[in-house]
Amino acid sequence: MPALNPTKKDQKRFLSSVTPKGLVLLNIVLLFAYFILLAFFFPTGNRILFALLIAGEVFHVWQLLTFLYTIWDTRTPVPQDAAFRAPVDVYITVAGEPAELVEETLQAAQAMDYPDFTIYLLNDGYVAKRDNWQDIEALGKRYGVHVITRQVGGGAKAGNINHALAQTGSPFVAIFDADHVPHADFLLKTIPYFSDQKVAFVQSPQYYKNYAVNEITRGAWEQQELFFGPICRGKNRLNAATMCGTNMVIRRDALQSVGGMCEESIAEDFATGMFLHQKGYRSIYVAEVLAEGLAPEDFLSYYKQQFRWARGALDVIFKYHVLFRKGLTLPQRIQYLASASFYLSGLVVIMNALIPLVFFFTGAVPIVVATMLLALIFLPYIFVTLYTLRGSSNFSYTFRSLAFSMSSFSIHLAALWSVMTGTKPAFEVTSKTKLSGNFLHLVWIHIAYVALVAIGLTVAISREGVSASIMANAAWAILNGVIFLQFIRLAAPERIDAQKPVAVTV
């Protein structure tokens, strides 16, 4: 088990990576060697399985190439005028979170070292029908800050922000979720970038201070590290920083020019960022932890958070057709599609996981090739890819992060289904306190997979004995099973190692 109290240095490693360019080039060579041999030179087996395999591998090629393209240079200097100052409205968005939690954020916001800013508590507790909405008003009164409580709902968080925009007037708006506590230097470190009139928003990492509480918080954060480390730093180079909805500052004029925060999408931030880029605005990612938030502490909250993100991102693909949107540069189109299409990876994970199962039950295989030959081209490719991931993230990328991403295939599939069927999901704020219970129903597909592997292996062995093909397929199935077991373990009741929470301040 990792140390519960990681050092500050360890926590910041993801922000100071250097891309190993030689390794990236080697990775590309091995990727193409693997893909070309697989797609064009190996005899095919079952055509449907082969088509599925190749479709999955095409997706992997896309994912890896866009990742490598993004992280190629993560150290692009961004110009700023350190002396630039302007009035800022600080929005703290609240939708039923406990007042004590909001109070901490509020206190930190008030303590920010900046000459001219006004704090607003955007209280959506009333429209969200939360019992504690008046607590927020009382809190605002106690601290002498403005509280804007909506009486008419709509548009979820985006609606809340847009409502506040109409009632405030500073040229810049800083936005924090209720649980994201800003550092004192937040505005000093972000506002100077706006000296460039084309900069529409400045985003900082969405760091989780409760990272070390349990396996779920660790997993949630470690997934974020790759994104807020090399990926976001790379996006800076391409003027394609992702707007994340919190720990950010937006230029009011720019936001108003796109009609405010996008209320049509569940991923309001992601879509709004894209609209701003369409208008030709610049975006900046500041690779420094300037605010600290909370990760979901239980499986259900994690599931809901991931579903919301997946649903929103897929929405962008299917609803906004990012590749064909006018105004975006080609790198921006690629970046938006790459980020959003991550949530399609669930399809590929399940497809790859099913290949050994299909073999167990039917004997059908996608390709007819000596397993050693496949190993010879696959292993160098996968190990160099893993090492590139490690190196580019300054060795912060973990097995847990990988297992969480792969096991989230069920969430991605549910989100995809929701998008395809047009089901309107409710916007739900991620719970800030740990929910306990049995969440195994959320991982039934993972449990079913493990059970089917056991049955399938028995069927296959009774059909053809212990052969090389069965062992190779069994090894693949075990690989998937071990990864899925991480999720099953965390969804089971009372399995979260609930040590005393340790807040880590960076």
């Binding site: 397993t371 050693m372 030959l373 996968i382 893993l386 973990t398 097995f399």
Partner: protein, 494 residues
């Protein structure tokens, strides 16, 4: 462990290393030494029984370099001939390699890693096999371990006086190395590559020293190369190797870890390769960067294999697991480096699992009659001595298998080879020619009643040969002694 007497903790390391050495000696005495002489061993004995100059002449026409043979020659001069005596020399190198491995592991990682490295080497089925064979492979392993130790010392030592000493040690070990096996050059190439990509680890001026040593090695090695080229018959050496495939690469890994198992078991083991991907995933541990030493060992593991494979495909097949034994210590070190980054519980499980698997396969390799590399020429010749009569002919094929047969056979029958090979004449073994086969058989079988055909080391014509005898003569007996070693008795004349 907690209740052990205090002196154990004081002398833990020598005690553990001593126990490991005792373990391999016991295995050698009670199991491996009782095995029959194998072809390669018989060749070593035959080659080293000549005078040093004649021996050089023979070895220069073979695929090896003379350091080990020279040692074996004088070893036998002082301690006497015999399989056990000759094997003891290899065992000494193997035993010496165990503490050497410990010190390498300790230098690269820590004391416990060193002990685990020594443990892996001791239970290694591959090492135990070659630690008991009259060939240069255990010496090669020892030299490679020392060479790697010196190399790592070069970039870990900062004191100039000590560095000078390590450069000397590095140069001397390299000199022994290039005269131990041609593949030792791959070890130097690996280190050169590692240096190129990790120059910041070294001191200014190291490149010149490295180049200087290479030049000196080339000068020292050039007379031998000149001699080999002058004789010009290295390309005729037998047995001939086939061009390697991906299977050979995975078999090498499998053999380094689990020794020589029957094809079925080996196939099952290598088919589990996707689990390597899972192990790779497990290796993704937060803030755990592979050390420079692990990266060096990875280079020393992969580069020789890759070079041997490429050369085998592009020029001449020379890919053999035993030639690549120089990659075995780095493989174990890479595994240890990988384990070091795992969470403690998983690390312990993997460590125990690996040792248990290696020990189990070691015992299977040692005790199973089906072990594919076993060559029971002793049983075959014992049988011949008991059953072949003075007027019988004994024919062995492939021709070079005459060495172990000749070593054991002291009966009265005439020994010949097919194709007929006159070892006194200069040049390679004559190729098989089906057109002249009847004539050769007629020459051999002249005046003999029965002919015993001992087939092993199929060079591509074994089945033709057997079918010829089966269709032209009456087969009386068939005996199987070990994998690929079969004896047939034919009635030649009535």
């Amino acid at each position: 462990m907690k209740n052990l007497p205090p002196f154990f903790y004081k002398y833990k390391i020598p005690l553990v290393l001593g126990a490991l050495m005792l373990f391999v000696i016991s295995l050698s005495v009670f199991i491996f030494s009782r095995q029959s002489l194998r072809l390669d061993e018989a060749q070593s004995l035959w080659q080293t029984s000549r005078s040093p100059l004649k021996m050089f002449n023979i070895i220069a026409q073979d695929v090896h370099v003379p350091f080990y043979h020279l040692m074996l020659h004088f070893w036998q001069v002082f301690l006497g001939n015999g399989v056990a005596t000759a094997r003891a020399l290899s065992m000494i190198f193997f035993i010496a390699a165990i503490p050497a491995m410990y010190f390498l592991g300790k230098l690269a990682y820590n004391k416990n890693a060193g002990l685990y490295a020594a443990l892996l080497l001791s239970v290694s089925p591959f090492m135990n096999w070659y630690g008991n064979e009259i060939r240069m492979y255990s010496l090669f392993t020892l030299v490679v371990i020392l060479h790697q130790y010196c190399f790592i010392k070069l970039y870990k030592t900062t004191d100039p006086a000590r560095r000078r000493s390590w450069w000397w040690a590095y140069g001397i070990v390299s000199l022994f190395g290039i005269f131990t096996h041609y593949f030792f050059l791959f070890s130097i190439v690996s280190q050169g590559l590692f240096y190129l990509f990790n120059r910041d680890l070294f001191q200014p001026g190291d490149f010149k020293k490295f180049l200087g040593i290479i030049v000196l090695l080339m000068i020292a090695f050039s007379p031998w190369i000149y001699y080999v080229l002058k004789l010009g018959s290295i390309s005729n050496s037998s047995p001939l190797l086939e061009a390697p495939t991906s299977v050979n690469i995975f078999n090498t890994f499998s053999q380094f870890l689990f020794g020589f198992q029957i094809d079925y078991v080996n196939t099952i083991l290598v088919s589990l390769w996707p689990l390597l991907v899972l192990f790779g995933f497990f290796g993704l541990q937060k803030n755990k960067k592979p050390s420079s030493d692990t990266l060096y060992f990875l280079t020393a593991l992969i580069v020789p294999m890759a070079l041997a494979f490429i050369v085998s495909i592009a020029f001449r097949p020379l890919y053999l697991s035993r030639y690549l034994i120089l990659s075995l210590p780095p493989l174990y070190m890479v595994i240890i480096g990988f384990f070091a980054n795992l969470p403690p519980t998983i690390k312990k499980v993997f460590q125990i699992l690996l040792v248990v698997l290696m020990a189990a396969t070691l015992f299977i390799e040692a005790f199973s009659a089906l072990t594919p590399v076993k060559e029971d020429y002793k049983a075959a010749t014992d049988y011949l001595m008991a059953n072949a009569k003075a007027d019988d002919a004994i024919v062995v094929s492939a021709p070079f298998t005459i060495y172990p047969v000749e070593y054991y056979y002291h009966g009265s029958s005439v020994l010949s080879t097919l194709p007929i090979w006159d070892r006194a004449s200069y040049g390679p073994i004559p190729p098989f020619d089906s057109a002249t086969l009847p004539q050769q058989i007629a020459t051999i079988s002249q005046n003999h009643q029965n002919l015993w055909l001992l087939l092993s080391y199929d060079q591509g014509y074994q089945e033709t040969l057997r079918l010829y005898f089966d269709t032209h003569y009456q087969r009386l007996t068939v005996m199987h002694f070990s994998p690929g070693l079969d004896l047939y008795e034919y009635k030649i004349r009535y």
